[in-house]
Structures are given as C-alpha cells and as structure tokens.
C-alpha cells in the first residue's frame, strides 16, 4: 500500500486551493531572537534575525544541530515567545498556537484514542464552518485520506499502522484544517529512505496542488534542494540566517536528479564555509 503508485492525475481537491498564489507577505519576523534563561546560565538559541515569507512559498531551514531551527519554528507556531523582536502573521502579532500556523512534529503524535479518520477530523472540530457538522468533517477527512492513499485504513487504530503510514496520516491531519502555513520539523527522520522519498514526493505534490505555504526543517541537503523554493542556511550557535539560496528548478523534482544534487552541493558548501565573522 505504502509505496502504491498513486496516480498523479487530479483527484478532486478537498479544499479550495486553486487560487493563484498572490505572493503577499504572509509572515514577517523583525529582529527576532530567543535566549533561554535557566537557573545557572542563559543560552542564546537564536541571534536576532529578520525573515519574510510569502504566500505559497516552500522555505527550508537548513543548518547544524542546535542552531535554533526548531526554536524559530516554535516561535512562528506560537509555542515560544521571542525574547526580542516581533512576529507578524498576516499583519497581526502571533500570541498563541493555532491551526492557521499548523506544526507537524518529528514524532507522528497521532492520538491513539481516536481511529485514523477521527484523527484527521480532529482539527476540524473547532473550525467555525465545521463545528457540530460531523458529516462534513468526516467527508473532508476522507478526501484527505484519499489524497495520501490511505482511504482503506480510515477505521484502523493508530497502533495498527506502520511508521510511514502514521506520518502520512499525521500529514493528512495537519492539512485538513487548511492551515495558512504548514510548519514541518524534520518529520520523517525515523523512516527509511524509500518511505521518506515517497513522503517528500507527497509533500511536493500537495504543495503544487494546493499552493500551501510550507516551512520545513531538514538536515539533508538533497531534501532541501528537492523541496525548497528558498533554502535558508543557518550559522552555528547562536543561529542566524547566514545565506539564502533560491532553488530555481521546475516541479515536480526528483530527489535523485543531477540538478538537485548540484544545488545540494551548493547548500552544503555554504554550511561548511561560513563567511568570516567580524
């Protein structure tokens, strides 16, 4: 099932998503930094950074471990408040987590007390247009399950799924509430390369079809080059955006393409040869 060849031809889109990306500023971070204060010391996780993300962009954060990529995602998602600076989402400050800036975690975090389709319905429950409309919730959830090719598993329990299937259901659950931006923190590290490639293909496919804005974190330069419109390379601790690389390749891209490989090389080079600090 997992590797089943889903047809690339259009399945009906669950959400209204065909709109031409208007390239408006969706997210604006000004001078954002984060210092974690513990009893004994202060850790500067993120040096003051500026960042703008447009609607419909796929942005990848790339950088060494501990440079604050997850911290920055947490700030955008509303889990952490920045020590300095301001985060504007659609023009208004971010104060708390919400399904318009939906985060996908490293772990699948599916709820074991719900079956697959109820997991996908979860985020719809509190959306105005879905509230108390169980049938509509279920139909939407089903169409997303279909999109990731797991519609036969809607009644399954979480512990009955393989690791790759769990991550795909988590993807469907994250997309169902139609977030304005999807924040993806290295979601597939525990999976083998084959499953991962497939998942990234799905993610790209969804991006192309829905025009969704996605911010993703990865350690793998090839993955970054394959997915991103823009790769932001971070400096080591305390992190800040050191370099921006635009990937001008047509989609869908294959992770094994030579051109993707060339971009991956450039990204890696940036990481290995940071410009001289003053």
């Amino acid at each position: 099932m997992e590797f089943g060849n889903r047809t690339k031809t259009q399945a009906p889109l669950p959400q209204n998503a065909s709109a031409e990306p208007s390239r408006a500023k969706l997210l604006q971070l000004t001078n954002v930094s984060k210092t974690f204060q513990s009893a004994t010391q202060a850790v500067e996780a993120l040096a003051p950074s500026n960042l703008e993300i447009e609607e419909g962009e796929f942005v990848v954060f790339f950088g060494p471990s501990g440079c604050g990529k997850s911290t920055l995602l947490d700030i955008i998602a509303g889990f952490e408040t920045p020590t300095t600076g301001e985060v504007l989402f659609e023009g208004s400050p971010v104060t708390m987590p919400g399904s318009d800036r939906l985060m996908m975690f490293q772990e699948h975090t599916l709820f074991p007390w719900l079956n697959v389709v109820r997991n996908v319905m979860y985020g719809l429950k509190h959306k105005r247009e879905f509230r108390f409309r169980l049938r509509k919730q279920r139909e939407t959830a089903r169409s997303w399950l279909k999109m990731i090719g797991l519609e036969e598993f809607e009644k399954s329990l979480v512990h009955e799924l393989s690791g790759g299937m769990k991550q795909r259901v988590a993807l469907a659950r994250a997309l169902a509430p139609d977030p304005k931006v999807l924040l993806v923190d290295e979601p597939f590290p525990a999976l083998d390369a084959l499953v991962r490639t497939k998942l990234y293909a799905d993610l790209q496919d969804i991006l192309v079809r829905t025009g969704k804005t996605i911010i993703s974190v990865t350690h793998d330069p090839r993955e970054a080059a394959c997915l991103a419109d823009r790769v932001l390379v971070f400096t080591p601790r305390p992190g800040r955006v050191q370099k921006e690389i635009r990937v001008d390749l047509p989609r869908p891209r294959d992770i094994n393409d030579q051109e993707v490989g060339e971009y991956a090389g450039r990204i890696m080079e940036e990481l290995e040869n940071p410009p001289d600090e003053k």
Partner: protein, 260 residues
C-alpha cells in the same frame, strides 16, 4: 505454539488449586484442629450450598455488588474530578497530594468507626467508607497520569486549534486514560475492602453481613465459605473486568504489544 503454552500454564494453575484443596482436606482429616474451628472444603461447600438454597447467598452477593457499584461510580466521579484539577493546577496538586498520600496510609477499615459516628447504622455510612477508601488512590493516579502525559500530545492538540476549555475532554483525560484506569482498578479494590468492612457492622444484607452472622453463630464453615465467595468476586472483577479493560487500553495506546 502460543495457545499450547497458555494451556500448559492454565493446567499448572489448576493443579496448584487442586493441591491447595488436597492439603486443606488432609489437614482436616488429620484432625489436629477441632472441627468447629476448621471445617473441611466439603463442609464449606455444603454450607454455601445451603445458604444458596435458603435464599441468603445470591441476594447478599447482589446487595454487595450493587452497593460497591454505586459507591464506586460516585467515588470515581469525585476522584477523577479532583485528580483532573490536581493534574492541571500545580498548587492544588501540592496541597492535595500530601493530604491524599497521608489518607492512603489509613487501613480502609479505619473509616468504619468514624462513619458509625457520623451516619450511625444507616446505609449511607457504607458509601462513605467506600468513597473515603478509594477516592485518594483514584485522585492520585489521575493527577500523576496527567502530569506524565507526553508533552507532544498537548503541543499537537494546541497547534490543531484546541481551545483551552476543550483540552481536558479532548486530550488530557484520554491521554492519561491508561494511568486513570489503573487508578480506577486500585480504587475498586480499596473500595471493596472498605465496603466489606463496613458491611460487617452496618448492614442487614450483604457478604460482610453473612461473615458477621457466621461468627455470631460460631459457624466456621459459613465464615470461610463467604470469605471464598468474597475472594472470587473480588478476583473476577479485578482480573477479568478491570484487568482486561486496562490491557486493551495499554495495547491501543501503544504502551504494550499485543499478546506480550
């Protein structure tokens, strides 16, 4: 393979009980202890049969089970509510945790005298004992279960747009359910202990009452018979009701492998 092993285990356990009864019967036959103090398994079974035929046994079992059931539901509602508040409010947890840990050190039967003082011989006193015996354990299990919820469930729920007021019902209680069920099971056992103790003194029907009557009549066979019945029902509910629910939940929550 597996079922063969299981069969073997069942055989061994069955054999163990046969041995216990054989030992009991042998001890009786040797006649070291006077018969009126130490009846044989046959006499005990016979006495139970008589109690059943006279219409004492079944109504007593029923009365006790109904009492325990009602008391348990009340106690669970109280214990869960307090546990939930403790789980989400650190200061409440700090206060109640020490109190409940203290109350838990009381033997459940120690609630009987105070219930006699407050409620006299009335039925409500039995419920009081059941509730006081089991609420602390259930509240503590609920709160510690909530405090041990993996944070990623809460983060996922928040980013999926769950408002704070919906968190307990949609995430906190379900995520803590394995711990809560373990607490409910323990609460049931403690309530059962307390309830039977209270019945010894306060009731006119029930297993505890039959125990008490047996002692009044110097009927060791009745006392031992009712003890066996009490054990059987306790075990049945603990193992086969709560135990099975507990295991199912643990498997579904991914805390235990199937058949492990």
């Amino acid at each position: 393979m597996k079922s063969e092993q299981a069969n073997k285990a069942t055989m061994v356990v069955a054999l163990f009980y046969v041995l216990i009864f054989a030992l009991w019967q042998t001890l009786f036959s040797v006649g070291l202890i006077p018969e009126y103090l130490f009846p044989s398994p046959v006499q005990v079974t016979k006495r139970l049969w008589e109690l059943g035929a006279d219409g004492y046994l079944l109504p007593s079992v029923e009365a006790t089970l109904v009492r325990m059931g009602k008391g348990f539901i009340l106690a669970a509602a109280i214990g869960l509510s307090i546990g939930l508040v403790m789980g989400v409010s650190p200061i409440t947890n700090l206060c109640f945790k020490s109190l409940f840990l203290g109350l838990q050190t009381l033997p459940t039967a120690a609630w009987v005298p105070i219930s006699l003082l407050i409620y006299g011989l009335s039925e409500r006193g039995i419920y009081f004992v059941i509730i006081m015996s089991s609420v602390p354990a259930m509240a503590l299990a609920t709160s510690s279960g909530i405090l041990q919820i993996p944070p990623f469930y809460l983060r996922a729920a928040k980013t999926l747009g769950t408002p704070w007021y919906a968190m307990p019902a949609r995430v906190i209680l379900p995520a803590a359910l394995p711990a809560i069920v373990t607490g409910l099971k323990l609460g049931w056992t403690l309530g059962w202990h307390g309830g039977v103790s209270a019945e010894l003194i306060k009731s006119t029907i029930g297993l505890g009452f039959l125990l008490y009557m047996g002692r009044e009549l110097n009927d060791a066979a009745q006392v031992m018979g009712i003890m066996v019945v009490t054990i059987l029902f306790g075990l049945l509910l603990d193992r086969f009701f709560f135990g099975i629910i507990e295991q199912r939940i643990r498997i579904r929550w991914g805390l235990e492998k199937r058949g492990g």
